[in-house]
Amino acid sequence: MSAAASLSVFAVELAYWQQTAIKLVVVAIVIPTAALILGYVFLLKMMSFMQSRLGPMEAGPHGSLQLLADGLKFLQKEDVFPRRADRAVFALAPAVVLISTFLLYVVLPMGPDAVVSGLDAGLFFALAVASLSVIGVLMAGWGSANKYALMGGMRAAGQLIAYELPLVLAVMGVVIQAGTLDLNKIVVAQATGELFGWGGIGFPFILTQFVGFAIFLVAVQAELTQPPFDMPVAESELVGGYQVEYTGFRFLFFFMAEFGTAFAFAGIASVLFLGGWYVPGFDVDSNWLNLVGPIVMFVKIMAVSALIFWFRFTFPRLREDQLQKFAWKVLIPLSLLNIVMTGIFKVFV
């Protein structure tokens, strides 16, 4: 994304296909890298330290190459299709999950111009493609022709429809305050906002939307099927759920999609609530923000991810009924209330 940024900084005019080619390469590199960084920093190291152990230490300094080594191992794995599997569905499922992740990165803004495609309905688009992954998960569960996989896929579907609503309703407060669905314009709205008449740091929406932020993070956790909402993959009872029959690179795609999506969602959370790529002191449309923005976004994304993974490592798994009850009886009424309150404040204050 920073490569796309430098284009406008040096005022080079590029044809549409040239820009798209560069963006394709950048995103194709960013997603696996994001998955590696989140996997290493949080899944391997942070979790280990929180559990009073060192985690992997052999591959590279402090085990930093462990995930690459795992990737190489996956490369050498035989491609096993279960005999009874629905072969086409089984083979396509990881691709569908990965499409959902790739499309999320299309609208994630890293700077005023450093965005693949700034859609007018960017936020709406992001939420729509995020829920696409459930189709891939269902396909994986069904195609494996395995009892664990089928149950895992069904649980994932049930969980995703329960937490889709809080996710959609939680961002509504931000939309009301910013008055737009364009993610870049939401950042601008925060950058040009004022805090009791003082425009020093703009107005990050978390100051008024902390309820929305909390609901958003919980719903993201559930969308990612991460603990404490990991009933669909529950290793200790479903031995990995819908992933149970997958080996080698096909398994790796699920891993990449999960952590790539975690990164993208953390990015969307920082755009919506934490001010996005804006740095106080710069002009909102200054070209420098295309260079500084991605760095600022990375820091914010890591901070939000730390929060997400902190929950992941410290909470016990919720039971299926508790999970549904929590979504329908707590999160949805709360987010409806949040919408009404935000509306009242928008109109009267």
Partner: protein, 121 residues
């Protein structure tokens, strides 16, 4: 081509990129990985014992009522989006209008709650 269509063309290209990336990585792996077919490898995994019955076993879907509720609420959530972007122009009128809408929505949720639809059976 208009900018609008072009921005969605980019979306299509990126969806294609995901498929191509999957295909490329699997092709790379197919060059490197071994291939030693054995009958046992293709049996479904069921904790190490021979699988019982069909893989597509019957199981009870306990959340189909939640699924129905979800469809209704999700469609209604779509109506809130355009309202939310235009609240500034609509002012008090828009607020009252949406308050009624959300009240009915909440009423539906409350009704489902009282009817024990939100109860896990």
């Amino acid at each position: 081509m208009s900018d609008f269509l072009r921005s969605y063309l980019t979306v299509g290209i990126f969806a294609l990129l995901a498929v191509i990336m999957v295909a490329l990585m699997l092709t790379l792996a197919s060059v490197l990985r071994p291939e030693r077919p054995q009958k046992q490898k293709y049996i479904s995994y069921e904790s190490g014992v021979d699988p019982v019955g069909e893989g597509w076993s019957q199981s009870r879907l306990r959340y189909y009522l939640f699924g129905l509720l979800f469809v209704m609420f999700d469609v209604e959530a779509v109506f809130i989006f355009p309202w939310a972007t235009r609240l500034e122009t609509y002012g008090v009128f828009g607020l009252v209008e949406m308050a009624i809408f959300i009240f009915i929505l909440a009423l539906g949720l409350f009704y489902a709650w009282r009817k024990r639809v939100l109860q896990w059976v």
